[in-house]
């Protein structure tokens, strides 16, 4: 796979939007105009519209040319953004058929990624066969690939030729001594190479591949797996380094290690980072928060968009018999995209028409009294990254009475930007930080991150609810569409307020309104509750 782990998430094909509304996006400033435009136009990031696009991952490349200590290739190696999902390995022909069938059924379909299990570039024939076919049959689809980087330099030319516009490299270190603790071996020049020497070669290949892609104007996202005690202190440096070289986004993912995964790390008791540790490092590495917000929120799995019931329509047996008019399907997708773009442009125009001060006021008015009589400068439209405002607010010298403090609020959603998921069905939660400065997306927290499935969960005596409570550590409210009475009580006991009154409301508005209620109740003038470990 590529560089991902049992249950580890990997690629994810997102890149970020440029600061659509004059944000001072720090991550992008270092990048060229060309890259900035490409990022802004990429469906995964296009401001305000990325909810309307879908991507799909095809698993055609099961072989791998390295071993990672967080991967057990005997059972599964998921390079998907969905931990624990065992991907069905397809032949290149099957992958092309399936992609075309899905793209004909779903006009939102716009990105095809090849990721794990396996390393796509350790299986170049299979990977490129899919890309070549699709370049002809569905030239509108954007192609992306995720790789561990070992075989990247020798394939950059072909990637460029096939107009692959987005590559994710999993880079866990720059230091071979650290690498030797993560990668036991690589296959290189017809030999199995081990230890520090292996790590040295891998790191050099990753960096060379990164440079070559950037030279050709291909977007590069870097993923890193945070492994406490091994590379956690090192990743901030990795982040600076890869962004200086032109990676437009650096995404830090948690190590997911449990004995039942059968991985080296799982079996040797290597721990995963806590949500708080992960969040702190992610904040440090993210760069452009607006872009990162889109990337982490992305749940645009194309078949998932159809809902559970329909994914069975794309079984291999069914797609083999489908008669599809590809020209018509292509035309539908193009028309769909044009419509979404027009709507987004209109929305943006409207947003700009509102005097920005009016919106900011609404938020600032929450301060009982402006700290020093001077309100923070309004920053552009509602879509502007809240971070810049938050920074301004934070530097304002605080005066009594205390401002309501920020709070973490979790959301259960099935997508579409609204609160629409039953608490008991949620396998992960989106966590937001709300404060007087507004709302910002912090990250996802998975319930099953530490378990491979119901069976293995049952064994270690830890219930799903216990895991859920742990995933929600530090959050003060959980917003969901419905919730049962038992979990309700358990949450309250853990100091987390369940709330289903905002079902079907847009997420960010609901989070802000919830924070305002908390602030009005006075709860946020008291210090944050002690984190209770479930």
């Amino acid at each position: 796979m590529d560089h991902h782990l049992t249950g580890q998430s990997g690629s994810g094909s997102c890149s970020g939007s440029g600061g659509g509304c004059g944000s001072g996006a720090p991550g992008l400033d270092a990048l060229g105009e060309d890259v900035r435009r490409k990022v802004a136009e990429h469906p995964c990031y296009s401001e305000g519209a990325h909810h309307h696009f879908a991507r799909m991952h095809a698993a055609v490349a099961p072989a791998c040319n390295i071993q990672c200590n967080y991967c057990n290739r005997k059972f599964d190696c998921s390079n998907e953004s969905r931990p624990g999902v065992v991907s069905e390995v397809l032949t290149p022909d099957q992958a092309v058929l399936k992609t075309l069938a899905v793209a004909a059924a779903i006009p939102q379909m716009s990105v095809l990624g090849i990721a794990g299990p396996g390393d796509p570039l350790a299986n170049p024939e299979r990977t490129f066969a899919v890309f070549r076919e699709l370049a002809v049959k569905a030239p509108d689809l954007k192609l992306c690939v995720s790789t561990n980087g070992l075989a990247l330099p020798e394939h950059v030319e072909e990637l460029a030729r096939l107009k692959v516009d987005h590559v994710t490299i999993t880079i866990n270190c720059l230091d071979p001594d650290i690498g030797a603790k993560i990668y036991p071996w690589i296959f290189w020049n017809h030999r199995r190479v081990r230890g520090r020497e292996a790590a040295e070669i891998l790191i050099a290949q990753q960096q060379k591949g990164l440079e070559m892609l950037v030279e050709r104007g291909i977007l590069v996202k870097v993923n890193s797996v945070m492994i406490p005690g091994i590379n956690d202190q090192h990743l901030a440096e990795v982040s600076r380094h890869v962004r200086a070289k032109g990676a437009f986004l650096h995404n830090v993912m948690p190590l997911i290690a449990a004995p039942e995964h059968g991985t080296y790390f799982g079996l040797t008791g290597q721990r995963s980072p806590s949500p708080q540790e992960l969040q702190a490092l992610q904040d440090e590495c993210a760069g452009d928060m607006n872009m990162m917000r889109h990337c982490r929120q992305c749940r645009a799995d194309a078949v998932g968009l159809l809902g559970e019931d329909r994914s069975s329509e794309f079984s291999l047996a069914k797609i083999a018999g489908m008669e599809i008019d590809h020209e018509a399907a292509l035309a539908r997708r193009v028309a769909y995209r044009a419509k979404i773009e027009a709507e987004a442009a209109e929305k943006k125009a409207r947003a700009h028409a509102v005097p920005p001060a009016a919106k900011i006021k609404q938020v600032i008015a929450l301060h009982p009294r402006p700290a020093n009589g001077k309100e923070t400068a309004p920053a552009t439209s509602s879509d502007a990254p809240v971070t810049s405002i938050a920074l301004a607010a934070a530097t304002t010298p605080s005066a009594p009475p205390a401002q309501p403090r920020p709070a973490l609020i979790a959301v259960a959603t099935e997508g579409g930007g609204i609160i629409n998921q039953h608490f008991g069905h949620a396998r992960e939660f989106l966590v937001y930080e709300a404060s007087a400065a507004g709302v910002r997306f912090i990250g996802r927290r998975g319930v099953d991150l530490y378990c491979a499935g119901e069976d293995s969960c049952g064994d270690d005596g830890e219930s799903k609810l216990t895991k859920t409570l742990r995933a929600l550590a530090g959050c003060e409210v959980i917003l969901c569409s419905r919730i049962g009475i038992d979990p309700w009580r358990a949450l309250e006991e853990a100091g987390i307020t369940p709330n289903s009154e905002r079902a079907l409301e847009p997420i960010e508005e609901a989070v802000l309104a919830t924070w305002q209620e908390l602030a009005a109740s006075g709860r946020l003038n008291a210090p944050a509750p002690q984190l209770r470990r479930a």
């Binding site: 099961p62 791998c64 040319n65 290739r73 036991p184 296959f187 017809h190 039942e260 080296y264």
Partner: protein, 96 residues
Amino acid sequence: MALEIIDSCTSCQACLPLCPNKAIVAAAPHFLIVADLCNECAGDYDDPQCASICPVEGAILDELGRELNPPGSLTGLPPALAALVAAASPSEVVGK
């Protein structure tokens, strides 16, 4: 002189394109080596290619039935634990 792939092979395909003698067959339920075609890569490479990329300990044997990648040699786990993992399904390992 030939190697053998046994049932712990996961059909990951990594070995398939590497064989200089096209001795590996993508058979089900697991890959196989055609003994008549395999010469352990003699004359082409210093190391047998399939056994140099295979990620599964114990999946490839020599003519005497010895594992080219014995327990612990690829995972770095203590051999006893590696052998246990190789024999068990993932959830069985958890109890330990």
